[in-house]
């Protein structure tokens, strides 16, 4: 059995330590939902921080917040998921490549390497244990969680630090807008569900979790399983796979009290999400959350934070959009996410 015993999250909402659970809601009116940063020097030696890019600082800070939240000094494994790693550093090198031979600064190259976040956390903690990084679109965080469960199952770890992190830059936003996946205009995030324009709204964030084999006073919820559904052929096939995932974990659809929807404000995709959930979980209460954090590869980290909070506190914050009648009890929550409706990811959490 695995438990979520600590959370450290930097997101576009007020989710830093000491904040109320998603209160008050943060409004964004810019091109994307930018993360609310902590004071990095609280968590990182200022001299070391000077050379670090923003993503690395967010990663280390959220990992340290997570460990503090769990009351743990040293994890037994560090696993990170990131769709794109440090976009800022990657862009710097791509820009310098146009002046090939003239660029001399190795730092962006080093930091653009996808495993930098996991390894910088290891260096900061002097943690010599298992260390890995997953880089697969909307499976990035779910792969971490699957690996974390394997590490616990093998008995080689008790406390695994696992998290997902991605950042947004204006250049990256421009490219994805040109691809037609994201909204071309800036919108108010709280209007996401009513604006009706094509495309999703972009976001970013970093969320780390202590996944532990032991329950304690810090426990938020149980992490039952994570699943990755690679390119199901249709909504009905996806729904069948969702049902199998629940069954494999000893549950029927009636036992899921709440589903956190993968909807991202792109009506065309949202319709498919709703079709899948209607087929697989016809009676389950639904909440939408991406108006709070935007869309990015590891957005399910934000969803997992929300689900763990709901299970611990036993209430649904008013900032989430409940799409149906509120559930009578909240014991099992299913998180659904997708990458452009081709890959689908699931996380199952329990009280």
């Amino acid at each position: 059995m695995a438990y979520i015993n600590g959370i450290g999250i930097i997101s576009p909402q007020n989710t830093l330590p000491g904040q109320e659970f998603l209160e008050p809601v943060v409004e964004h009116t810019g091109d994307f939902l930018k993360a609310v940063e902590p004071v990095f020097k609280t968590y990182i030696d200022p001299i070391a921080a000077r050379r670090m890019s923003r993503l690395i600082k967010m990663g280390i800070s959220s990992a340290k917040i997570c460990l503090q939240d769990a009351g743990i000094g040293m994890p037994d494994a560090i696993i990170t998921g990131t769709g794109l790693g440090s976009v800022e550093d990657t862009e710097k090198i791509l820009a310098e490549l146009t002046l090939e031979g003239k660029f001399l600064n190795p730092t962006p190259f080093i930091q653009s390497t996808y495993n930098t976040i996991s390894s910088q956390i290891a260096i900061a903690l002097k943690c010599h244990e298992y260390n890995s990084t997953y880089v697969h679109r909307c499976f990035s965080l779910e792969s971490c969680l699957i690996d974390a469960l394997l590490q616990l199952g093998e008995g080689s770890a008790v406390n695994v630090l696992a998290g997902g992190i991605d950042e947004m830059t204006m250049n990256h936003l421009t490219i994805i807008r040109r691809l037609g996946i994201w909204k071309r205009e800036a919108i108010r995030n709280l209007d996401l569900w009513s604006c009706g324009t094509p495309g999703a709204v972009a976001g970013e964030g970093s969320a780390y979790f202590i996944i532990s084999g032991e329950k304690n006073d810090h426990t938020y919820a149980r992490l039952v399983a994570a699943g990755t559904l690679y390119k199901p052929g249709s909504a009905s096939e996806t729904a069948t796979l969702v049902t199998s995932f629940l069954n494999e974990n000893g549950l029927s659809h009636d036992e899921i009290d709440l589903v956190m929807m993968g909807n991202n404000g792109y009506a065309e995709n949202d319709r498919i999400c709703e079709e899948i959930v209607s087929l697989a979980l016809p009676h389950t209460a639904r909440v939408m959350y991406k108006h709070l954090c935007g869309e990015y590869h590891t957005v399910s980290g934000f969803a997992l934070f929300v689900a763990a909070g709901i299970l611990k506190k036993q209430f649904i914050p008013s900032s989430l959009v409940v799409q149906s009648a509120a559930p009578k009890k909240i014991e099992n929550i299913l998180i659904h996410n997708h990458y452009r409706n081709t890959d689908h990811a699931l996380i199952l959490v329990r009280k």
Partner: protein
């Protein structure tokens, strides 16, 4: 312990051959794949070597029986070329009852095309052909391979710098042992790019003469490209289906050096930990290892740190060792799987392949690599090391299959 995870197929594409047979011929013949730069235009042409796969993207498309080069990055094409060999060897076909996963690893993903997209985009953000950039992320190459093979049950991508594909094999074995999958095709792929060439060049760790691992006068690594995949399944499964077994993945270990982002610790802490974990899992003693296919990049730092770690783990009885990066170059995210395949070839041939371009011992070490091909080596257990930036160190033990 429970189930033994065995290898029922493998495929490899590298600068020394487009399949396992050609790679073996090069290894036995002492033919290195390191040469001049032909893949792209760069100011380093004629100055720095690379270990390139000798096919263009168009030729790779034909080689794999694909229709168009349009949607594929070089990383995905190399991956498909290697994975299809592994799948065929293991008798994989889409739609079989066995739950099959694909785990790939890469460090550059679709960078080979993103770097073509960027210059016009930087001048004007409405410019640059989008099809050059849509395949940028690492997951793309994995999904292209999974799509090609029709794998549906599980897929993910690992990126832990130069140890990436060793970690793919570890995850594959874990998923099989946990009963989550019956069969996993695991490995990695990386193409040479101007991005990596220039990136490593800023670190001043590229040897102008081609890498000389464990040589006292070594001056850095040589970047290579390629891909390799291994098919893992339980011994029971393999026997039940009457499949030939080419080796056992009997141990693996992953540890972090936690020392510096790009430098290894002088005492090789993480490297030694990874090797010890791999031995422990296989319930093996250092003396059981008959050959080490070392990471051996040819950089000052790696070879010293790895050499010290090997001496610490194996004491005075260090088994024969060599770095086959002197043949293939450093294939980054693919290196772990490429060297796992080479280790299997070693086991099957009972041969230790030489460490090319070696002439001078390192004064800090009492060990030196094998520099001539050894036949009749009688190899039972081979260790394969893969160490990466960020202190991501992994070690595998591959063993001769004895029923």
């Amino acid at each position: 312990m429970g189930h033994r995870v065995v290898i029922t197929g493998y495929g490899i594409v590298s600068s020394i051959g487009l399949n396992a047979g050609d790679v073996l011929d090069s290894l036995i013949g002492g033919h290195s794949g390191i040469g001049g730069i032909t893949r792209f235009e760069t100011i380093h042409k004629g100055k720095l070597p690379l270990a390139e796969v000798k096919l263009s993207n168009k030729e790779l498309v034909d080689h794999c029986g694909l229709r168009s080069v349009r949607n594929y990055t070089r990383t995905s094409l190399l991956g498909i070329a290697a994975a299809m060999q592994a799948a065929a060897m293991a008798g994989y076909a889409a739609g079989q009852e066995l739950r099959t996963g694909l785990i790939s690893a890469t460090t550059v993903g679709g960078m080979d095309r993103s770097e073509d997209f960027y210059p016009p985009f930087l001048e004007n953000t409405s410019k640059g052909r989008l099809r050059e950039v849509v395949n940028h992320d690492c997951g793309d190459s994995t999904e292209k391979i999974a799509g090609f093979l029709g794998i549906r049950d599980f897929t993910t991508t690992i990126s832990t710098a130069c140890s990436s594909s060793a970690n793919s094999l570890m995850l594959g074995a874990e998923l099989i042992k946990a009963g989550m999958l019956d069969r996993v095709i695991a490995g990695g792929t990386d193409a040479v790019t101007r991005f990596t060439l220039n990136g490593f060049n800023t670190l001043m760790i590229l040897d102008k003469e081609g890498c000389r691992p464990f040589d006292g006068n070594r001056a850095g690594l040589t970047i290579g490209e390629g891909a390799a995949f291994l098919v893992l399944e339980t011994e029971e499964n393999a026997l039940k289906h009457g499949k030939p077994i080419y080796g056992i993945l009997s141990g693996y270990g992953n540890a972090n050096d936690a020392y510096h982002q790009t430098a290894s610790s002088p005492e090789g802490t993480g490297a030694a930990l990874a090797m010890k974990k791999a031995l422990d899992m296989g319930t093996l003693l250092p003396a059981d290892i008959s050959y080490i296919n070392v990471h051996g990049t040819g950089t000052q730092n790696n070879d010293l740190s790895e050499g010290v770690a090997v001496q610490n783990v194996f004491g005075e009885k260090v088994p024969p060792f060599s770095s086959t990066k002197s043949f293939t170059g450093h294939t980054l995210g693919a290196a772990g799987a490429i060297e796992a395949v080479i280790s299997l070839l070693s086991i099957q041939q009972d041969a230790v392949f030489p460490n090319l371009r070696w002439s001078t011992p390192m004064k800090e070490l009492y060990i030196k690599p094998v520099t001539e091909l050894i036949h009749d080596a009688s190899l039972k257990h081979v260790m394969s090391n893969s160490f990466g930036f960020g202190g991501n160190n992994s070690s595998l033990v591959l063993s001769k299959y004895i029923p």
